[in-house]
Point group: C2
Chain length 190, copies 2
């Protein structure tokens, strides 16, 4: 089966116009008018996001996570360390920075597991998911509007937390799955 992406006149849409609606600190919103394959037009509400990194960090056989309040959900969420890319920042450097800022850990080994889009229907946010280990403790330095608590979970504890809904976001569930699938090999084994 040929599943390579290619120009496809039966599917491709063409941008006719873009109307900026909002530009914020983190996200911006625009409404694109697109021409559909049948020649008609439709509007698409699109969120632009700078991109983010997330880190599956393993320390003493446990997964490093942070608990933080998420306003969108109205409650605390247990997640792997993550954060937005700064302007022009290399994702690998951002991953090391976010891990250190949120947890204090400095990692000796880090590699990209993969990158993925979180909400292709309305947002261009991409998350670059890294795996890190050989961690050394240090001082955390969260952003001034960021309040976090550090947790370290075994794989069974993380799976139980997915089951209970205490962990409920895509990047963290994906990281736990990847670890369980032993995509995290070499020095990263639990």
């Amino acid at each position: 089966m040929n599943i390579e992406a290619k120009k496809n006149a039966k599917l491709d849409e063409v941008t006719v116009s873009t109307k900026p609606v909002f530009e914020g600190k983190v996200i911006s919103l625009q409404i694109d008018t697109v021409q559909l394959p049948d020649g008609s037009t439709a509007s698409r509400e699109i969120i632009k996001h700078p991109g983010a990194v997330a880190v599956l960090a393993v320390h003493a056989g446990k997964i490093v996570m942070v608990d933080q309040f998420r306003q969108a959900m109205g409650r605390c969420e247990l997640e792997i360390p993550a954060g937005k890319l700064e302007k022009g920042e290399d994702p690998l450097e951002a991953a090391k920075r976010e891990l250190q800022e949120e947890t204090g850990y400095v990692c000796k080994n880090i590699r990209l597991l993969h990158s993925f889009y979180t909400s292709p229907g309305f947002a261009d946010e991409i998350i670059h998911l890294y795996v890190a280990d050989e961690l050394e403790s240090g001082a955390a330095a969260p952003d001034e509007d960021e309040f976090l608590e550090l947790y370290e979970l075994t794989l069974p504890e993380a799976e139980a937390a997915i089951g209970s809904g205490r962990i409920s976001d895509a990047k963290t569930i994906m990281a736990v799955y990847a670890l369980k699938l032993k995509q995290v090999t070499g020095t990263y084994g639990l």
Copy 2:
């Protein structure tokens, strides 16, 4: 380790005010002012989304996917069938509806695998991920602004497509991982 969510004065934020910015067909945007645990305030850009369903459907040992143009990415993406919840719609019924509309398949067996948030940092979008099999072919009926092509991939083909970036969204990668982890048991085995 106690990882249950609880009221936590060191982490919890309190909504002070909400300013509506945009209300669209699919998403709305608001800026919330929150009081942080240290008493200071911060603003949060929040996208409200009606929620969505996605379906990991297995037919003749292959995973059912649809190729469609995604304006946010500017290219076609291979994804499992998915769509927004209609107002007041039961997620299970929405999952059956989206599978039939996008692929023509009617499923006899369907169950919830789990629900997850896609972008907890800025959006309340939740996706309810279902597993379905015992599919019967029928006529697809996509929305009028929706142009799709049906694909059916073996598990190795799906993994290769994740590797090449042809599959690059969180829900589809998560579904492939779940299948590989054999969380999809009973009649759903590949």
